[in-house]
């Protein structure tokens, strides 16, 4: 595929949908919704993000932390869209991401946390939950999953648990972001840790050599509800089949219901968030 074709592929109509649902177990225990999701258009493309605030009481402001994480990720992607798009090779894009995007989003998140603390200083009850060694950002601890689509590239970045699934035009689904053996279901890497930049896992895809039909970002409340293991191959194939049958706008409308089922007592019972971008098939136009 030529660069021009790839550019057309990246600029075709994408249906984007996000959904965040409070988990049934959170409702039962009175815990707030601690997941967040969002997307925004950036220069020449799109950015999507989801985040999962840690549930442990040590991270008592993680509901706010996940909101700030999504905002920081999308903001940094918009700020650096042109820089990322200018990369010549996937390896260059990874280097640029590690050198610029990751530090930028971490800086934005840390600054946002500081501002939130200035607006709402810790109360006495919260101060009792702070451990002596904790940095000021620890109460806001959150994961972050980010996808940035430019004219040529699909960039994926993740810190902490959750899933990023890429579906090809033939329905083949992959999880390109490398795994992390430190994630054991009870502990996760986090934006709030001192070496957060080193814990970001990245992947980049050249849209010219491998077109993309859909990208799904989901917090672990979504994946932990899925019975199949691994769950994404069947999910990706079904997603594309349903999109071909009903159209991507139908898929977009369904996403909140799917996320709600995952967060229900029939599923993981945990908060669940998802951000989905799905391309229209040839000849399809958005309703």
């Amino acid at each position: 595929m030529s660069v021009e074709q790839a550019a057309r592929d990246a600029s075709r109509d994408w249906q984007v949908s996000t959904a965040v649902v409070r988990g049934a177990a959170h409702e039962l225990t009175g815990l707030p919704l601690q997941d967040a999701a969002g997307y925004r258009e950036i220069s020449g493309g799109l950015a999507l993000a989801v985040a999962d605030g840690h549930g442990n009481q040590r991270h008592f402001r993680s509901a706010r932390g996940s909101e700030l994480a999504v905002r920081a990720g999308l903001g940094a992607a918009a700020e650096l869209a042109a820089t990322l798009a200018a990369s010549q090779q996937p390896a260059d894009l990874i280097v640029a991401t590690r050198a610029k995007l990751v530090p930028a989003l971490l800086h934005r998140w840390q600054r946002a946390v500081q501002e939130d603390l200035a607006e709402r200083p810790l109360e006495a009850g919260e101060l009792r939950l702070v451990q002596r060694e904790d940095q000021v950002t620890v109460p806001y601890g959150s994961t972050l999953l980010l996808a940035v689509l430019t004219s040529h590239w699909l960039l994926l970045g993740q810190i902490g648990d959750g899933d990023i699934v890429v579906v090809g035009p033939d329905g083949t689904a992959t999880a390109p972001v490398p795994g992390d053996p430190l994630l054991d279901g009870q502990r996760t890497t986090s934006l709030c840790q001192a070496d957060a930049a080193d814990s970001f896992r990245l992947a980049a895809a050249d849209l010219g050599s491998g077109p993309v039909a859909a990208v799904l970002l989901a917090t672990d409340g979504f994946g932990n509800a899925q019975t199949a293991e691994p769950w994404y191959p069947l999910f990706g194939a079904d997603l594309l089949r349903l999109s071909q049958q009903h159209g991507p706008d139908w898929i977009r409308a369904q996403l909140p219901g799917w996320v709600a089922r995952c967060a229900s007592a029939e599923g993981s019972g945990d908060d669940a968030a998802a951000a989905l971008m799905i391309a229209g098939p040839p000849g399809w136009s958005p309703s």
Partner: protein, 237 residues
């Protein structure tokens, strides 16, 4: 029902599995004072309590497995059995049977090796019930090492119930591996039922969260404190 309500891509959804392993002593001494019958009665009484807990919470599906050990260890329930509607098939003591706990640990470790549990499974729970001390001390240590070498074995919520005062709390404490978590002692059939139920419910509740073992101890000592907990009590590495 409209198609849009029922269709969801993928292989369906379900609650997260909570694998609950029972390690039951069937050595010869278990025939003394009707301990074997008491153990069977206690487990049979415990299962409906676990099933009730499963219904009350919003996250886990409890799956039971059991290992019987005496001269050797073998699966009494080999395949994960949903606790809802589960019926306990009584165990029988082995005449003059020894107490080879190490063999039970090895068998359990096999089931906890990487890839044997679902990646989305909650922390497994392991309940050891015995009336004696291991008759295979060297193998006890070796088996425990094998169990702890498996990440899921190390991470498991582990509790022990000693039937009678002759059980060795020293060995059972090493199995639990936390001085803050008590070995539960039951002297009578009624106490066995109470302790098993208390232990199993505490373990189930704690398996779904990232609670530390001190928290387990607190909940065992003061069961009234036990309640529904956060579903994703995760914290940073």
């Amino acid at each position: 029902m409209p198609e849009s309500v029922t269709i969801m891509p993928g292989g369906g959804i379900s609650r997260r599995p909570l694998h609950f392993f029972i390690l039951a002593d069937c050595s010869g001494s278990m025939k003394t004072d009707g301990r074997m019958q008491a153990l069977n009665f206690a487990i049979a009484s415990m299962l409906p309590q676990l099933a009730a807990w499963e219904r009350e919470q919003e996250q886990a599906q409890v799956l039971i497995r059991a290992i019987a050990f005496a001269d050797r260890a073998s699966w009494h329930i080999a395949e994960p059995l949903p606790v809802a509607g589960a019926r306990w098939k009584p165990l029988h003591h082995v005449e003059k049977g020894l107490t080879h706990m190490g063999a039970a640990f090895r068998l359990l470790a096999d089931a906890l090796q990487p890839g044997r549990l679902e990646t989305r499974a909650l922390r497994p729970a392991v309940l050891l019930i015995t009336d004696g001390r291991p008759t295979d001390p060297a193998e006890f240590d070796a088996g425990l090492r094998v169990l702890f070498a498996a990440p899921a074995g190390r991470a498991a919520i582990r509790l022990a119930v000693a039937i009678g005062r002759s059980a060795s709390s020293e060995y059972l404490s090493r199995f639990v591996d936390d001085p803050a978590v008590p070995v539960l002692v039951a002297d009578s059939a009624e106490e066995i039922v109470l302790q098993l139920t208390t232990a199993s419910l505490a373990m189930s509740r704690l398996s779904e969260v990232g609670a530390d073992r001190g928290d387990i101890a607190g909940r065992l000592i003061q069961p009234s404190l036990a309640g529904a907990r956060a579903p994703d009590d995760d914290t940073i590495v």
